[in-house]
């Protein structure tokens, strides 16, 4: 059909789209910045290499699980098994890396476990059309049980040099996070990655447009599993050993971070940069309140109030419009 002319290529489209995605999270970025400044004032050590390293290390696993949760929420799903998957990743790392598999083999085992568990969960949710919240709740029991089978009580070991590299005085965690974010950008630039949004927000329309909706959703679960066990490996490196219940708190914190970051529960709403900012905000909030001498109870209450506020403010704005 020749009537459709071939317009001059506009090379800037990708960057314009990226810039547009910032609009929704600008105010969040400002809040994060404010907390960062507060943190820097309370803890000037942030500007030393080791201070910066410690700071990113405390944020890094939360950032990974926030991404793991956000990618599922973007497809309209959710996972209650993230904490258990983190634990499983930690015990696999702690039991394999010191053994004959070595570090590379252990890391591969961790990655395979994450991808496999994620893909299996995704398959059950997507192909059998079962509710994600129920499947992943059941999954959390199974995965948590498996972690306990592998390592009934804290133990195992992570080679000391790996612990030093990841959780020592070098900002390796920050570098890793940058790599993960770049990989995510790469994935989102593939047709399958970009389909995530359509599959989450308008699955019927997406299917009619030729989008492999089911594949996009299963892939999201697999990636989510990989990010979770990866977070587990890092946590094991931080502590130098494996603990079969160490990940438990990450399930709800991952949801909290994603929600703070503006990810909606209905699918297709929000951005990964938002979820990352949400996880950073959560991490900063905890540190700042600790420095300010809040009691743990007050910390939890404040955390809860801030999360409700973060969800309510956009709603109020919508009503006003």
């Amino acid at each position: 059909m020749s009537i459709i002319p071939y317009a001059r290529a506009d090379g800037a489209l990708y960057w314009q789209v990226q810039a547009r995605r910032n609009i929704g999270v600008r105010s969040l970025f400002l809040v994060v910045l404010a907390f960062l400044i507060a943190y820097a004032v309370l803890f000037p050590g942030l500007f030393t290499v080791s201070g910066f390293a410690k700071f990113t290390q405390s944020w890094f696993p939360l950032a990974l699980v926030a991404m793991a949760q956000a990618i599922l929420m973007l497809t309209g799903g959710i996972s209650l098994a993230i904490g258990a998957t983190v634990s499983l990743g930690a015990v696999i790392a702690a039991t394999t890396m010191g053994g004959p598999l070595g570090i590379a083999g252990g890391a591969a085992a961790v990655a395979l476990a994450g991808l496999g568990i994620g893909a299996a969960t995704g398959f059950i949710v997507v192909r059998l059309r079962l509710p994600a919240i129920v499947v992943t709740l059941a999954g959390s029991f199974i995965i948590g049980g498996a972690a306990l089978l592998i390592l009934p009580r804290p133990g195992g070991s992570i080679p000391a040099w790996l612990s030093d590299l990841l959780a020592g005085d070098t900002p390796a965690a920050f570098v890793l996070l940058v790599v993960v974010v770049l990989l995510w950008k790469l994935y989102l630039a593939t047709p399958l990655g970009l389909s995530l949004y359509a599959a989450g927000e308008n699955p019927v329309g997406a299917y009619r447009s030729g989008v492999p909706v089911d594949a996009a959703r299963v892939a999201a679960y697999a990636i989510s599993g990989l990010l979770s066990t990866g977070a587990g490996l890092f946590v094991a490196a931080q502590t130098g050993s494996g603990d079969p219940v160490i990940g438990t708190a990450f399930t709800l914190n991952s949801i909290a971070a994603a929600v703070l970051g503006g990810i909606g529960f209905l699918g297709g709403q929000g951005t990964m940069r938002g979820a990352l900012a949400g996880s950073l905000l959560l991490s900063l909030m905890i540190s700042v309140m600790f420095f300010l001498g809040f009691t743990p109870v007050a910390q939890y209450v404040a955390q809860g109030l801030i999360i409700i506020g973060a969800v309510a403010i956009p709603q109020f704005r919508k009503v006003q419009q």
């Binding site: 059909m1 317009a7 630039a189 359509a198 927000e201 019927v204």
Partner: protein, 499 residues
């Protein structure tokens, strides 16, 4: 020349209910083919068969003159068939360009080639007059602009066959003009176009050939040359009512049940309406012109404004559902599965739901009194069988009777009915009609919103025809005919060039 896409003698039934019977249609290159028919005539089903979303029970779909054994959406795409559906297939959070290309992105090293995508999406946007930046999220656009993105998305795929299902329903006059010009050019390029619209003027101006469906059968397949709008309306309507409808007898008495001036709610604007006691007032028009908002607004289920209003002698609108109930208003929704009934709960619970507050004994529910009431209602409406069964065990017709029955203990003065006979069998329809007439004869008011034109003609004392949020015509009993309603609904009598 072989048609690019054709259906030969296709039939389709849903749950034994025939929707299409032995229908044929052939889309020729370089021709804009109109598909006309009333609500429920089978137009959408025919589109779904042509695009592979459904498969016919009998008959064949042909592409380039060759029968396709098993048409699927994927095959249809490969064959260059693009459909612009009524419900949009867009993703609000993605940009215009990403939406246009989705499912068919240009790739480079496995990644979306944004440069190529921008070029091709820009070209498609230019054709439909979309000048917003390609990076604009679709969620920021108005409904009309989204419709244009949807059309650009179809064009991006360079279709040989373009099927448009009511593309202009949400477009402004300027956008409609751009679209009609565009379709003219595409036609010149040899594209086969199937155009579904309820705007007859548009069809007359744009199309060369017409297929008319009525109750699932094809009543016309001919050139539009020498056909006038009135002739087309005649081809769409006219059904032998048989003895389905009770004999009409005047029952109107001079009183006014509801009287509103300058009423606005949802899509409806500035409506003046008087609903008399003892009358059945029909609300007609094409689906989705605001009729439902009229009922819901009167019922207080959505916000409504009026200059003045009187409801059963009380001035002002009820404003919320409990007040409306207290004023004697009852509403029976169209979607009985979602709004009318609680399907998994027993029939008796459904019947008693509006009355729970009315059977207090020490402020507790009296099961005995409820059972008695339930039996009375069931006898009255001839609902048979155990009332403890879940409501979903009933047929559609009987479910509708339960949805009606639950209001009867309230003794309502005004019944607001939203398409009460949709998907209801003939026997039950007749029972419902008898009930409504009896209700009116008892000096109460019935407001009957219906997508079934014969029903409006044979049952109502007056019919208000709604179009684009306004009551465009009030047809009195003497002048009631299907043709009168359909031409008012389609704006056929208004001499306005498709702008």
């Amino acid at each position: 020349m072989a048609p690019l896409l054709a259906a030969r003698g296709v039939s389709k039934a849903f749950f034994g209910n025939p929707v299409l019977r032995d229908v044929s249609i052939a889309l020729q290159p370089g021709r804009v083919h109109a598909l006309l028919g009333e609500n429920g005539a089978g137009k959408s089903t025919l589109i779904n068969l042509l695009s592979g979303a459904l498969r016919p029970d009998s008959g064949t779909i042909e592409v380039d003159g060759r029968a396709v054994a098993r048409m699927t959406p994927a095959l249809a795409r490969q064959a260059g068939i693009a459909v612009v559906q009524q419900e949009l297939s867009l993703t609000a959070s993605l940009s215009i360009a990403e939406n246009i290309g989705i499912g068919a992105y240009p790739k480079r090293f496995g990644l979306v080639d944004y440069k190529e995508l921008a070029a091709r999406a820009k070209a498609a946007c230019k054709l439909v007059g979309l000048d917003e930046p390609l990076s604009t999220p679709v969620g920021n656009l108005s409904l009309g602009r989204r419709q244009m993105v949807e059309i650009a998305k179809a064009l991006y795929r360079r279709p040989r066959v373009l099927i448009l299902d009511e593309p202009t329903s949400s477009l402004s006059a300027t956008e409609t003009k751009i679209l009609t010009d565009l379709l003219g050019r595409l036609r010149g390029e040899g594209v086969a176009i199937l155009y579904i619209s309820h705007r007859l003027n548009e069809v007359m101006a744009l199309c060369q050939h017409v297929t008319v469906l009525k109750d699932g059968t094809c009543t016309a397949d001919r050139s539009l040359e020498g056909t006038d709008a009135a002739g087309l309306v005649r081809l769409m309507v006219g059904r032998d009512p048989g003895d389905l409808f009770p004999k009409w007898q005047p029952s109107g008495s001079p009183g006014a049940a509801i009287s509103v001036r300058g009423f606005s709610a949802g899509l409806m604007h500035d409506v003046d309406l008087d609903i008399g006691t003892g009358e059945v007032l029909g609300i007609g028009g094409l689906v989705g012109q605001g009729q439902e908002d009229l009922l819901l607004g009167l019922y207080g289920a959505i916000p409504a404004r009026t200059v003045s209003a009187t409801v059963n002698g009380v001035s002002g609108l009820p404003g919320n559902v409990p007040k409306a109930n207290a004023l004697g208003l009852a509403y029976v929704p169209a979607d009985r599965k979602r709004e009318g009934l609680h399907l998994i709960h027993p029939i008796i619970t459904n019947m008693m739901l509006p009355s729970l507050a009315r059977l207090p004994s020490l402020k507790l529910r009296s099961r005995k009194a409820e059972r008695q009431k339930g039996r009375d209602l069931a006898a009255q409406l001839s609902i048979k069988g155990d009332l403890q069964r879940p409501a979903q065990a009933l047929s559609g017709g009987n479910q509708q009777k339960v949805a009606l029955a639950k209001w009867m203990p309230h003794d309502p003065l005004v019944l607001l009915l939203n398409d009460p006979t949709r998907g209801v069998d003939v026997e039950t329809k007749r029972e419902i009609y008898l009930m409504l007439r009896a209700f009116a004869a008892a000096g109460k008011a019935v407001v009957l919103l219906s997508s079934d034109t014969p029903e409006l003609v044979h049952l109502c004392d007056r019919v208000a025809v709604v179009r684009e949020g306004r009551v465009v015509r009030m047809i009195e009993r003497a002048a009631l005919s299907e043709e009168a309603i359909v031409s008012a609904a389609m704006g056929a009598e208004r001499r306005k060039v498709a702008a």
